[in-house]
């Protein structure tokens, strides 16, 4: 049995890069919401900084939260939406009769999600420097761990959403935009997990993103890097990502059994 081919993954990634390369509107679209969010929360931070001792000490708390949250959101959306493009284009059957393996499709989707996230959030991160004198890179090396953790969690959710749409059709597409927001209150983006009701906290600690945002506050407020948080987050992500991949592959297998790959897009 032949192994995973980087050549085929690259070929499919090229298909998406062609689209991005040709259209500057797509690049603007990628960076639009992260930038708007950053600007909005930048002003809120400036206003609150004058009224809150905590924010006065660490003005980057809210902006770091919003930019890190966008990494999670964009990576999930980047994977799901690119998969939907195949469904809209009715191209899925062509892909699945080519030598491309389903796992290679997943890896290509992840690659392009990474590129889309770097472009979208990267532009907002860079603009925050001149706009508010805020530099996310000041988080230092922990930022790499935060980024990877959020990326993996976004991919896991993105794969689940893609599987759901493959199973139930494009009618379920809106879930791609809404799914992750159901988790937002639990992740502790703008407040510590301890703020949540006690009964809700175990659920929050089951999410890798919660460790990132707690870890972010530890860096900004206590100037410590909680390696244990990163470890738990990566452990949870290994489980969720494995589950997401397995569910997607099983859904593809079921679609082959039902014959829905031929009718996809309708």
């Amino acid at each position: 049995m032949s192994g995973i081919s980087l050549h085929r993954i690259g070929a499919l990634a090229l298909r998406y890069l062609y689209l991005i390369r040709r259209s500057w509107i797509r690049i603007v679209e990628l960076a639009y919401w992260p930038t708007v969010q950053m600007i909005l929360w930048g002003f809120i931070t400036q206003y609150l900084a004058g009224h809150s001792d905590l924010l006065n000490q660490t003005a980057g708390l809210l902006l770091s939260g919003v930019l890190l949250w966008d990494i999670l959101f964009r990576s999930q959306l980047g994977l799901s939406v690119v998969f939907f493009e195949e469904l809209h284009a009715r191209n899925l059957a062509q892909l699945f009769v080519s030598p491309l393996r389903p796992i290679e499709l997943i890896l290509a989707l992840m690659s392009i999600s990474l590129v889309r996230t770097l472009i979208g959030v990267g532009i907002a991160v860079l603009l925050a420097i001149p706009f508010y004198g805020f530099n996310l890179f000041a988080l230092g090396l922990p930022l790499i761990g935060f980024f990877v953790t959020l990326l993996f969690m976004g991919w896991a959710i993105g794969l689940l959403v893609a599987a759901l749409v493959l199973r139930h059709g494009m009618g379920a597409e809106s879930i791609a935009w809404a799914a992750i927001f159901a988790l937002a209150p639990l992740c502790g983006i703008y407040y510590p997990i301890a703020t949540l009701p006690t009964w809700l906290q175990p659920l929050s600690w089951a999410l890798p993103a919660s460790y990132v945002f707690e870890g972010m506050r530890a860096v900004l407020l206590d100037h410590t890097f909680r390696q244990d948080y990163l470890f738990y987050a990566l452990l949870l992500n290994a489980g969720y990502l494995g589950l997401g991949i397995q569910i997607f592959l099983t859904t593809v297998h079921q679609a082959r059994a039902r014959g829905s790959l031929l009718q996809s897009g309708e």
Binding site: M1, H7, R8, V97, S98, P99, R256, L262
Partner: protein, 250 residues
């Protein structure tokens, strides 16, 4: 010595609950042969092709392509096969050249640029290489999808209505291209078509399907003789209407 079949299907079935889309068909196609799957709408042609490609899992039965069991070894077989259907699209916003480049790379084609140039000339699509696929007419799209199907110079080519949406002149050119390709490569072609003159011209074997079962097989001239008709069009109508060979119809 009998030749090893390139496509071998035994007791193949695809059931969706009580619906028997394909119901126990067996056939084989040898190397360098062109075989037509014929039948009315819902006869099981597309379902059969989808199972041969591994796009659809059979309920039961066995498929062997180039001696390998499908879909078990489809990853080994798919680089040696290809498929064209006017009903399965390519990404609309990519240009023709971009689409073909992506698929050439997926199929592991070595000299992509050269291959595209050759196909562009053969299928007369070079003029719109830089146009988005979505902006093409139905006939132009059919030619591009056929170009995609020939990218990897497949040993087994499965075609679902290869000349649908084409004007008679272009359709005739496409048939010539397919015939030339087969002569040059020795490829095996299996096509589903509703164009009976195309079948008579291209195919040396016909499999007639009705309600998921094979109701007649043979060379076009044999079937015409067996049904006492003047062409395949009439044979097709007889079979679609459930008339047995040799029956006299007023």
């Amino acid at each position: 010595m009998t030749e090893t079949p390139v496509i071998q299907v035994e007791d193949l079935r695809k059931h969706y609950g009580t619906v028997r889309a394909v119901d126990g068909i067996s056939f084989m196609v040898t190397r360098n042969a062109t075989c037509a799957l014929l039948g009315g709408n819902g006869a099981g042609k597309t379902t059969t092709i989808a199972m041969l490609l591994g796009l659809l899992l059979p309920t039961s039965g066995q498929i062997r392509i180039l001696g390998e069991e499908m879909p078990r070894y489809q990853q080994r077989m798919l680089p040696r096969m290809n498929f064209s259907s006017p009903y399965v699209d390519l990404p609309q916003r990519l240009t023709v050249a971009e689409n073909l480049t992506v698929y050439a790379r997926l199929y592991g084609v070595r000299r992509v640029r050269e291959r595209l140039t050759t196909l562009g000339q053969e299928l007369d699509i070079a003029a719109f290489f830089q146009r988005p696929y979505g902006s093409l007419s139905a006939g132009q799209k059919t030619r591009v999808v056929l170009a995609k199907a020939l990218l990897n110079e497949p040993e087994v080519l499965l075609l679902d209505e290869p000349t649908a949406s084409l004007d008679p002149d272009t359709a005739d050119r496409m048939r010539s291209i397919l015939t030339d390709y087969q002569r040059r490569s020795g490829a095996t072609l299996l096509l589903a078509s509703h164009n009976m003159s195309e079948v008579e011209r291209l195919c040396d074997q016909v499999i007639m399907l009705r309600n998921g079962s094979i109701v007649a097989t043979g060379a076009p001239h044999e079937l015409i003789h067996r049904y006492g008709r003047k062409d395949m069009e009439e044979v097709f109508l007889d079979i679609a209407r459930g008339i047995q060979s040799g029956e006299v119809v007023e």
